[in-house]
Symmetry: C2
Subunit: 594 residues, 2 copies
């Protein structure tokens, strides 16, 4: 299939059939999302250590870029908690927070991440994200949530806390306890309590008061906005900023500025790995949200196109004073629930936020930072879910090890170390498992043509015949294991005359495994034992024929294991009236012409 | 099984039954191997840039240590070509050749490598070596052989050549052409020609002259010894050393000295990676030789015990003035062919070499270095075999890519980069392949109960039923692929009511894949499609039950694919007179108690 224009520009697809109904639905969704995004965008900018207006900027141009290039119809891109934390960690390594260099680094990071996503999309490298296993992501997000909550706790109490690990954060929290500003702490804790109550108690209360489910939903989502308005009014009314309550202060009024990334080579090199991690993690989060939402309408997203959409969004962020963005879970779900039909809803949201940046910024001068910290804490605590530890413990110890390492190292050594270690460990454990495949010695289930593990079933065997079934593709990491296994099994078994390898589950035999099979064949030959294969899959057989392995094989290749037994231990395997064995065999090894 | 003393000390095993016949066989083998090893040991020490006597030392204590701890009865350990080259590369990075620091680094490298091998043996980490695929090893050895031959060509012509890449070596060879010493070059080329003739023409010539096969064999092996004696006598007789022919010179007379590794932390850190590579490559070479020889007598080697044996040998080398050693192919085969029955043959060889170190070293003062260079060239050219490129090209492009990268990078960037790149690339390609598994849409083969790929066979299908067979275990790297695949396949197919995943080749479902199956189940449910599994293996089923996946599944788990069709598309799958399907099913999912 040759990709068409509309393949790379999904807007050409949905743009054609855009009508009045879709327009009104999109406008409604945009209004709701805009109201929700204003405080959230400011808060995530502060989380990244950046001026609050950058949060707004990062939510305007990127949304439009995604609307043009992205394939999901409901995804809302912008700053999100985990990526903002990773941004803080990455640029904190190269510049001091509050400096122009810090802002330039954030912009450069967005550009790098966007460029990487674009390249991955154009070269269809989206599969790289698959190496982040679900448990590693879950553990990473949980640990990130804890780190974010700990860092925001300081802002909530009006003290300074810095550090990229949990211990550093806690130490600076404890050291700062003496400098708690009681008014700030009062506002922060009150907002926190209010927001928790909104999450838990508001919707049922409204329903009891007779509100419709839709209205109750909207009012619940507007909770943070109410907290922002109320606490801002309070600080303004009582001039609490003069009593030491930190406020957002002057936010420039105007549309996003034009900005340029810094192409200093040292900076690019220092930011390359963090940019890759941010890209991959942002992509994974985004795709899973987009897929969940698309499935509800039997729509489809194209993961490689998502890379291009997110890449364009990040590059747009880099040129308009923003920082790294991705598809957010909360905002996308709200967008979807509010009835967004097409990416145009995103464009309308962008217009709404642009108006806010133009007109509303003077109003947030007195917005206390503690309110934003409380907003973030409530948002991220919904991400924290340690149950992944008990789930993986019950299901798979390898997954447990990977997730435990991810959580511990993210908390103890920072986000970049944590997620890298999780990925490497899960790959290592997978390789370890496949390097020691399950090998079963099998025998004939009496009265059937089926062969089963002699340890699990009462089966018939012949002392001169050993049949092994290996439950894994044969490749370099397990080929020597197979050599050792067979060598150990046959040594000293003097009755043995034939060894059959049943290849039902062997999807591939690579060059190393081929040479191991040759070595096994040779060594068995030197012991006077013949070596056979059975039930070899078609594509595998094609390859074996190509390299003349079969010419050297001392035994035969049987189309079915039952045929092998008929030939090698005929007493145990009588001819069947109905020639089923041959039937099985034909299927297992498809014709060479296929 | 609780390992006994004799498990860790194989000597207790064979030592008990040692008798006069074994003794005389071992003595004979030791004599032949000793004669062969004298020039070889000196030559490999020079290849590593070390004083020649260190080659003898490295062949004495290590052989005895291996005889005590090793599990192979015929393996002969000592310096070998590839490991000597790797030693030169590793210690050349930390010290200047010819200095005391260089010698100390070699000793330390042997110690580090020995310690790593011991630890790997005690913790049974021998599987690490499995990640060196056969083609990567073959490519690495071939490229190393080329590098060694190029470096020795300089010694053969009497010029200096340095560098750890082929280009550097060739450049310094060309630059040095002006300084060729014609006498040295004459001796070197004559010896080279003689040795090639010995390899090719001597044995047939001797047989024609009536020599027995055994005698012809021994005389052929003694070829290098003859070249050493003749060229030494020539240089001594004509005092050619005064005409600029480089000779071995003064070699201290005496037993191996007691030496201590240097425990400087910086040095240990710098040598850690090279030591690991040397350990793993030495181990892989050694085990494949040992296994080949053991199989001929239906004996068995224990790979983890081999690690301990080689570890002990290297530590012995470190404390007796040696350098890294491993089981050599040529010497082991000679040892085996000469009739060695037990590791005692090795001990006798060690005694022979100790006598040589005590008594013979004054005799080699006039031994020209060009002769040793010629010996090495002839030995390593037998390792060079580029046919691995054409073989892998024909058999598997992934293997070809790994071997080509290994050869190019070994030649172009040195041994350490080359072998590391080969290992990483082969792992990456394996992961890539398993991340995009083969998925077949299958249908019923008419008149049977077998299901085959609809693209390969004329099969029966039902528009409301989609059956997919995935030919790979499901794990994090391919779980999202499966999600995408199913999502893409079902989107827009409005006739679809049931999707069945046939799990015949699924040996494992990890946590990520479990969550993907849950997501697939949920998304299909939202499209009004039920999701079923069939032919799930017993251990996989056990796990799925443990986490209550089956409770959420909208469809069923069928014991056989035929039962699935009977239930979901009954028109196509009539009940069979003989209830074979149930039969298959019972085997596929073993009882929970098993």
């Amino acid at each position: 299939m040759r990709p068409s224009f509309s393949h790379y520009l999904p807007i050409l697809d949905w743009g054609r059939s855009y009508d009045r109904r879709a327009l009104s639905n999109d406008l409604m969704a945009a209004l709701i999302v805009t109201i929700m995004l204003i405080p959230q965008s400011l808060a995530y900018a502060l989380l990244a250590g950046l001026p609050p207006e950058m949060g707004l900027y990062a939510s305007i141009a990127p949304i439009i870029a995604y609307a043009v290039f992205g394939s999901s119809r409901a995804l809302a891109v912008g700053p999100v908690a985990v990526v903002s934390l990773m941004t803080a960690a990455a640029i904190g390594n190269v510049a001091e927070a509050g400096t122009a260099g810090y802002i330039a680094a954030a912009i450069t990071l967005a550009f790098l991440s966007g460029a990487m996503l674009l390249v991955m999309g154009l070269f269809r490298l989206g599969f790289i994200a698959n190496f982040l296993s679900h448990p590693v992501i879950a553990g990473f997000i949980t640990a990130s949530g804890v780190l974010i909550a700990a860092s925001q706790l300081a802002g909530l109490l009006g003290i300074k806390a810095e550090g990229h690990t949990l211990i550093l954060l806690l130490v600076s929290l404890v050291q700062g306890l003496g400098q708690i500003n009681p008014i700030t702490a009062g506002i922060g804790l009150a907002v926190l309590a209010f927001l928790f109550w909104v999450r838990r108690g508001l919707k049922p209360a409204l329903r009891r008061l007779g509100a419709g489910p839709k209205l109750a939903e909207v009012l619940t989502k507007a909770g943070p906005v109410f907290a922002v308005v109320a606490s801002t009014a309070l600080v303004w009314g009582l001039r609490l900023d003069q009593s030491g309550v930190a406020v957002v202060g002057v936010v420039p009024q105007g549309l996003p500025p034009f900005s340029l990334p810094d192409f200093n080579l040292d900076l690019l090199r220092a930011l390359a790995l963090p940019a890759l991690l941010i890209s991959v993690i942002g992509f994974v989060e985004s795709v899973s949200v987009a897929q969940t939402l698309a499935a509800k309408k039997r729509q489809r997203i194209q993961p490689d196109q998502e890379l291009i959409g997110l890449g364009a969004a990040n590059i747009a962020a880099a040129f308009t004073g923003g920082f790294p963005v991705t598809g957010g879970f909360a905002r996308s779900v709200v967008n979807y629930d509010a009835g967004a039909e097409t990416p145009a809803a995103g464009a309308f949201t962008a217009i709404g936020l642009a108006l806010a940046a133009l007109a509303l910024t003077p109003l947030i001068f007195f917005l206390p930072k503690a309110t934003l910290a409380a907003t973030i804490i409530v948002a991220v605590l919904s991400l924290v879910d340690f149950s992944i530890l008990t789930k993986t413990w019950a299901y798979s110890k390898a997954d447990f090890a990977a997730v435990a390492a991810t959580i511990l190292l993210t908390l103890g050594a920072g986000v970049e170390v944590g997620v890298s270690a999780g990925v490497l460990l899960s790959i290592a454990l997978f390789l370890y498992k496949t390097s020691r495949p399950h090998v079963a010695e099998v025998g004939l289930l009496p009265g059937t043509q089926h062969f089963r593990n002699i340890l699990r079933y009462k089966v018939q065997t012949d002392p001169s015949l050993l049949t092994l079934r290996v439950d894994e593709s044969l490749y370099f990491a397990n080929s020597r294991f197979l050599e050792d296994y067979i060598h150990a099994r046959v040594t000293g078994d003097s009755a043995l005359q034939n060894v059959v390898l049943q290849c039902t589950a062997v999807n591939e035999i690579d060059m190393s495994a081929l040479e191991s099979l040759e070595a096994i064949n040779l060594r068995l030959h030197e012991m006077g034992i013949r070596f056979h294969l059975s039930e070899v899959k078609g594509p595998v057989m094609d390859r074996l024929k190509r390299v003349h392995f079969l010419d050297a094989l001392t035994g035969q290749v049987f189309l079915s294991q039952y045929e092998a037994m008929q030939a090698l231990a005929p007493d145990l395997a009588p001819e069947l009236a109905r020639d089923l064995a041959r039937d099985v065999a034909r299927d297992v090894a498809p014709p060479m012409t296929a």
